[in-house]
Symmetry: C2
Subunit: 138 residues, 2 copies
C-alpha cells in the first residue's frame, strides 16, 4: 500500500548509489596545531561508517583547497550541482551522508534547503553547476 | 620547425574549446551596497570579452554560493578538477580565461600553480575532483 506513495528502503539505497561524498583527509581545524590523524581523516572515517548500507560512496581526497575553512567535503551526484562544505567536525559525517541522499533524490540536481542538515547549511562554501548547465538568463 | 615544439595558435584554441568559465552574475562585493549592474554581471561581461577567440566558453550562472567572498567564478574542463575562485574584480576576467586555457592544456586535469595568474592564486576558494576521481591513499 505505502509502496506506491513512498520509496522502499531498497529504492532509496539504489537512488543514493550514484551519490559521492569526497572528504579531504588532509584538512586541519584552522589555527590549530597539526595532529595525527588529522581531523579530515577522522571525518572521512566517520563518514565511511555513516554511509554503510546507504548506497552513498565515500572517497578520500588529499586536498579540496578549502584549507582556511576546513575540515572540508564535497557532495555530488552525476549530473547534479556539486556542493563544497567546510567547518565540519566528526558530527558532520551523518550530515554529509544525508545531504548526499537528498541530492541523489533531487530531480533538479539541486540539494534542497528544506530538510538539509544544519552543518550543510552553515558550512556551505560554494556550489558549481553540472558540466552541461546553462542558466536561463534573460 | 617550431610546430613540433609548441602548439600553434589554432591548436591552443582547439584545446581550450572544452574549457568553461562559469561566472556568478548575482555576486556583489561583500559588505558593499547593492548596485545595478552587479559586480558579478560586469565580471561576466568582461570575461566574455576576454574569451573572444580563445575557444574558452563563458557561462553566466545565478549563484555559486560563495556570497561572502564574491565576485565568484568557477573553471572546469571535462574530466578536470573544478576550481572555484572568489574576490575577483573586473581585472580577473583575463585571469579566468588564462586559467581556463592552462587547465585545458593540463594532461593531469590540475590547474598548474606555476604560471597561474595572481587573482587565481590569492582568490582560490576550493577545488573538487572529476566525478570518477579516486585518490591513491595508502
Amino acid at each position: 500500500m505505502t509502496s506506491i506513495q513512498q520509496p522502499s528502503v531498497t529504492d532509496t539505497a539504489a537512488a543514493a548509489e550514484a551519490a559521492i561524498v569526497y572528504v579531504c583527509v588532509t584538512c586541519r581545524h584552522p589555527g590549530e596545531p597539526d595532529s595525527d590523524p588529522r581531523p579530515g581523516a577522522l571525518l572521512a572515517d566517520a563518514t565511511a561508517s555513516a554511509a554503510q548500507g546507504s548506497g552513498v560512496t565515500v572517497r578520500r581526497v588529499r586536498c579540496l583547497a578549502n584549507c582556511t575553512r576546513g575540515p572540508s567535503a564535497a557532495v555530488r551526484v552525476n549530473g547534479s550541482w556539486t556542493y563544497v562544505f567546510g567547518g565540519l567536525d566528526v558530527g558532520g559525517a551523518a550530515a554529509l551522508v544525508e545531504g548526499a541522499r537528498l541530492l541523489a533524490g533531487a530531480a533538479d540536481g539541486i540539494m534542497p534547503w528544506r530538510g538539509r542538515p544544519e552543518p550543510l547549511k552553515r558550512g556551505l562554501i560554494a556550489r558549481v553547476p553540472p558540466l552541461d548547465f546553462q542558466e536561463e538568463i534573460p
